[in-house]
């Protein structure tokens, strides 16, 4: 929680700014859409956090989003599979990818960066080849299935705001992952493994298995996220769908307090990290800045944010130290 304070502060600052200067920022529909996008990206970011906890990294998230996302309409529309077969197939394929990464990393001891970088190229390549670089979409069909991402729920007593359906899986995942790391034995083992692998091994912890499972989890979430993404946008091109999503996911996780050295996680932080990125992007349009500036603004604001966060942290810890000294 303490680790998340920084990103929550950054988020609030941007939110307040956007409310003041953005047109129609505080409208139900905008908040709804922000919630939707945050939920989608949060699912990827939670996945990224799973492997970051182990001290690893997954650069293939964007490509798995692409492959899983593209495969869904490809099977449904081109091959006319039933949704009941497609969803499990896509999820199993994503989990298989994670398993493959995990085994290469834990058994063959290859560097996670390298393995998942190859993955980044490989899965996108497969998606492009499989579809012959053709856009894949639902052609207006399977509206019911797509409700998983496009559905909206009324909240009793609240007007002008409908809750996007994606919030439900995102919230469940967040809670499960949060509980997993703070309350379960395995979560604790993973935290220990992430920071000091040999200490964990000496304590009899099956580190290889746990790390492998983390990669499975990450790819599974990426695949699940990819499915929801394409349900949401209804069609995608294999060559650009999901490009750079791994960076957004990792950025959200790191902003949210996961150290890339491993062993740290804050689920609340990760979600606020994802939300911050989305609010920033929307703010740029609603405030009326040119979209050419989007990248520059996001980069500058994040950099300022983390630098300020670090500055404040240092200032506080110095104050704390001094007051502790005064007490003695």
């Amino acid at each position: 929680m303490k680790k998340a304070l920084g990103i929550i502060a950054i988020f609030l600052a941007i939110f307040v700014f956007a409310s003041l200067y953005g047109e129609n920022f505080l409208t139900g529909i905008n908040l709804m859409q922000l919630t939707q996008r945050t939920a989608l990206y949060a699912i990827l970011a939670l996945g990224a956090a799973l492997v970051i906890v182990t001290g690893g990294i997954d650069l293939s998230i964007g490509s798995v989003v692409c492959l899983a996302g593209i495969t869904t309409p490809w099977l449904l529309i081109e091959h006319e599979w039933s949704p009941w077969a497609v969803v499990p197939t896509v999820l199993a394929m994503s989990a298989g990818i994670g398993l493959f990464h995990g085994l290469l990393i834990t058994r063959l001891k290859l560097q996670p960066f390298l393995v998942t970088l190859c993955g980044l190229l490989l899965y996108r390549g497969i998606a492009r080849w499989m579809t012959g670089d053709q856009t894949q979409g639902f052609m207006g069909e399977h509206g019911d299935l797509r409700k998983l991402a496009t559905g909206r729920f009324e909240i009793p007593g609240v007007e002008n705001f409908l809750l996007p359906a994606t919030v439900i899986p995102a919230a469940i995942l967040a809670i499960v992952i949060g509980v997993f790391y703070s309350r379960t034995v395995w979560g604790r083992w993973l935290l220990a493994t992430g920071r000091n692998e040999s200490a964990a091994r000496y304590s009899g912890i099956p580190t290889a298995g746990l790390v492998t499972i983390s990669y499975v989890g990450c790819s599974l979430l990426a695949g699940f996220g990819g499915m929801l993404f394409i349900f949401d946008i209804s069609s995608a091109q294999p060559s650009d769908f999901g490009n750079f999503y791994e960076l957004y996911a990792i950025a959200a996780a790191v902003l949210g307090g996961c150290s890339l050295r491993g062993g740290e996680i804050s689920v609340i932080g990760v979600i606020f990290g994802a939300a911050t990125l989305q609010v920033l992007r929307t703010t740029i349009i609603l405030v009326g800045l040119s979209s050419q500036l989007e990248f520059a603004v996001i980069g500058a604001v994040l950099l300022l944010g983390v630098a300020a966060d670090e500055g404040v942290r240092r200032f506080l810890s110095r104050r704390l130290e001094r007051s502790a000294a005064a007490v003695r």
């Binding site: 052609m139 949401d232 069609s235 349009i285 609603l286």
Partner: protein, 338 residues
């Protein structure tokens, strides 16, 4: 289809209502399908129209594909824009977001049409037609020489509808087939027809270094290549560059697309057959003009079939100079407007 008709009717009703009470200072938007010079010229047109006719214009270039375009359209709607002209990346699958725009605002399309969407009109040209022009240009160029030979096609990517149509047009034009926009030749297969061998289509996902490498590598693989075409602006520009660097000028013909500076220079020098140019400035200008008229309750400039045609042009040695001057003036106007 029912829903589409309803949305069209709703938009028309909204426009009708503007007759009584026109928007004070309308705000319209122009959304491209990516980032390119083509679109900066269109932007110049849009902004010039905004200045000339008196309205606010927002121009957005989605850099990240379909997802990005969807997000921008949603955000513009939230912002409360009066009308949007969009170049949809994948019309068949973007029905929902276009419905959203039509529901809350007014929707027209440019550059790439979405006839099934509730758009009130389309501003642009037919990419198949333009491709056909380029193909004919290539056919003439090679007929003057020996005729026939190996042909290579370079294009940024093939996913988008306009790219597919443009490529197909080129092929049909080159091979002298009867035009049929619904035809589709698989990119992976080698076509042997009418004395030509189309050895392949190479894509690069907008990575120029990769695009250049593609051309270089294909020239190595096929030293006897007779003709190539770059169907996106930079493909042609890079083809000119590679021809210069490898000393293949005159040995390999080039039928170009769009108005890259190097391409125009090559046409003037005489080693580029010619280029097919669209009028992005016109797309931008017309889009704003039409949308603005809507906010005043005026629908008169929309023809019966909903297509406002701004045809492509073939630039050859004789008209290159004049075209280039005019273009520079337009770009400058666009920049100053910013």
């Amino acid at each position: 289809q029912d829903g589409t008709a309803k949305l069209v009717a709703a938009q028309k009703a909204r426009i009708e209502a503007y007759k009584a009470k026109p928007e004070a200072k309308p705000h319209v938007a122009f959304v491209s399908n990516g980032v390119a010079d083509f679109w900066t010229i269109a932007k110049a047109g849009a902004i010039a129209a905004g200045k000339q006719l008196g309205c606010d214009v927002t121009v957005e270039f989605p850099g990240g594909g379909l997802g990005d375009q969807k997000r921008m359209l949603e955000d513009l709607v939230i912002k409360g824009i009066d009308g949007i002209s969009v170049s949809p990346i994948d019309p068949a699958n973007q029905v929902e977001v276009m419905n959203l725009v039509a529901e809350k605002s007014i929707l027209i399309t440019n550059d790439s049409d979405a006839p099934k969407a509730p758009r009130l009109c389309y501003i642009g040209m037919d990419n198949y037609e333009a491709g056909l022009m380029c193909g004919k240009l290539a056919r003439e160029g090679t007929k003057n020489g020996a005729g026939g030979g190996k042909v290579a096609i370079f294009i940024g990517r093939l996913e988008q509808d306009n790219a597919k149509r443009r490529r197909q047009g080129f092929i049909d034009g080159l091979l002298g087939r009867t035009p049929d926009p619904t035809r589709y030749d698989e990119p992976a297969t080698v076509i042997n027809e009418a004395g030509y061998t189309i050895v392949g289509t190479w894509t690069d996902s907008f990575d120029r270094a990769k695009a250049k490498a593609n051309i270089e590598d294909v020239l190595i693989k096929h030293p006897d290549l007779a003709l190539m075409t770059g169907l996106f602006e930079y493909n042609s520009t890079l083809a000119v560059e590679v021809l210069r660097q490898t000393g293949k000028i005159g040995k390999v013909q080039l039928a170009a697309f769009d108005e890259g500076a190097d391409v125009i220079a090559g046409i003037k020098e005489g080693f580029v057959l010619g280029t097919v140019v669209q009028d992005p400035y016109g797309y931008g200008f017309e889009s704003v003009r039409v949308l603005l008229a809507f906010t005043k309750g005026d629908m008169s400039m929309v023809p019966e079939n909903g297509v406002i045609n701004i045809p492509a042009k073939v630039i050859k040695k004789d008209n290159a100079e004049a075209f280039w001057k005019d273009l520079k003036a337009k770009i400058k106007a666009g920049k100053d407007a910013k």
